[in-house]
Symmetry: C2
Subunit: 337 residues, 2 copies
Amino acid sequence: MAGIKEVAERAGLSIATVSRALSGKGPVSPASRERARAAAAELGFVPSYQASSLASGRTRNIGLVVPTVRRWYFASVVEGVSAALLDAGYDLTLYNITEGAVRRRSILQDFLLRKRVDAVIAVALALTEDEIGQMLAIQRPLVGIGGPLPGASTIRIDDHGLAESATNHLIRLGHSRIAHITGDSVYEQDFRIPRTRRAGFEKAMMAAGLPVRPSWVVKADFTIEGAYAVARDLLGGTSERPTAVFAASDEMAIGTILAARDFGLRVPEDLSVLGMDGHELGDLFGLTTIDQDPRGQGALAVSLLLEGFDGGTERAVVDTEYPTRFAIRRSTAVPPA
Amino acid sequence: MAGIKEVAERAGLSIATVSRALSGKGPVSPASRERARAAAAELGFVPSYQASSLASGRTRNIGLVVPTVRRWYFASVVEGVSAALLDAGYDLTLYNITEGAVRRRSILQDFLLRKRVDAVIAVALALTEDEIGQMLAIQRPLVGIGGPLPGASTIRIDDHGLAESATNHLIRLGHSRIAHITGDSVYEQDFRIPRTRRAGFEKAMMAAGLPVRPSWVVKADFTIEGAYAVARDLLGGTSERPTAVFAASDEMAIGTILAARDFGLRVPEDLSVLGMDGHELGDLFGLTTIDQDPRGQGALAVSLLLEGFDGGTERAVVDTEYPTRFAIRRSTAVPPA
DNA sequence: GCAGGGAATGAAAGCGCTTACACCGTTCAA
DNA sequence: TTGAACGGTGTAAGCGCTTTCATTCCCTGC
């Protein structure tokens, strides 16, 4: 393996000049730059990451913490972050902390703090103030996507307001028997999104003078399967049935549509279904939803971070509300007569 | 930030002893070990990754190259790899090379070669021999999951044989009008799986003396939506319709089931549908499939790698055939009378 | 009682880069 | 004409660890 020393020898330059030539920092004459480049190319030289990190203090590596990559939303964020980082020549270290609190603790401590990353992007995680403090204490910018991170920059959508207007959409169509599928306790612990969306739903219902029946606010695990199971209970019983379901995620809305079909319920004639997120399957199911473009949010998080690196020392805490789009498709309509 | 030097001072030991005590390598008296541990804990010391990598040559970081994380299969592999790596105290650097050849080239060269990873796991990628050679040349083990990597270790399932026996399952049920949904050209370029599965399908058909109608071997992009679209064409036409569809992935099988439902076709009474992979939604759709546990494959890849690190210099190239399970559910039955 | 062998430890030499600093030769304004 | 300013370059001091090697000390066997 050729090192910078060999390149310098071959180019007839000092290693300092080669370093400057290849990194683009510092003044180097065009002639030297070209010779350094040529020598590096001939030897197939690739600078050692650990050496340059150690010397410069920058790793060109970003940590991305997600609860899972098996939900569409998270996978989309990961792709957005990954693509933006690749373009910028950064590496992405993925921390998939499915296993919960214990693992998460050790990740934050043993991994993120090991100066291995220049910054951290946390998706939908409600970190404690302690945890946030630790990150900031070691001078590593932290940006949160889809989750409130007091003291850190965040990119998020207005979950409360959007859930409210989604519910209002149903109410305006004439629905009064509206059920809501929210997240279950596992999710509530780490993320505040289900709770926030539920609050928006309840607010809209109250404002319209409509009852929020406890039995019509059901919990599921944010998957198609999970929502399918609870939607079967909701729709299959002999008791009165809702005319509309607002699910806190598109996956749960899709599960609801599938359950409805099982009972011969037509969507939207017999049941309106409204989702939230902008899932790639929304089109196929004609799902009305609020599209939040998680891929774009991931890319934006990277831009913010990289800007901060260049911009200098401004460690501004910005809270960006990401724009959404209300995609009205076929799954919502006026209630049955 | 406390460094090993501060820890050594506090513990009243040399930095060499502290290093040995904390890493567990080399002889250290129990008393010193304890003092080093205590001092490190008090100072919140976490060793610098780049420094130890630079000094030791090991990064404790594994590169994982995937074409996307938005398919269930890949996301599952990522989770399997991630969990295993986290347990072992390794980092995972994710290279999501959705964008194709150009990006992939620069990733392999600029990133993987920068000595940033101890090993690489490539999922479903048909790397060229050149690319494989480069990796091996720099002494970095390479293991492939779900794709043939000549010269490197691989974990894979018997795509050809399994596609064959899946097809035979349909044939034994009495089907003779069997369609196959395979991958489209984008996928074929980088991965050999669709082609291999199609070959298995064709072999079984030929062996049974059944015709492989070109119009019944249709291409889709391995997504639910993509397969839904082509399945609508396949099933909705006025011409003769197949009685069974063997899709090269569960997602495509699910798309087929959804398309069938649109036309009022009952599964399996009017149409048998057979998938492959073991998707988490398979249960909901009652999908008969071949379960290949990608999560387990990811975990196995990590074990193989880590074993190799400990085991020593044996750079054995092993080709592991991962066990699968034929999950017979409700989506396949005898053909309509 | 003494050589020989470990175990425990510390000093110090790197690992392969980046960058502060010093230096030289120009250029250009005063 | 002079000196400040600056572009271009090299020297060398680290970055924060790991690991080799030498040293010390204690135990064992003869």
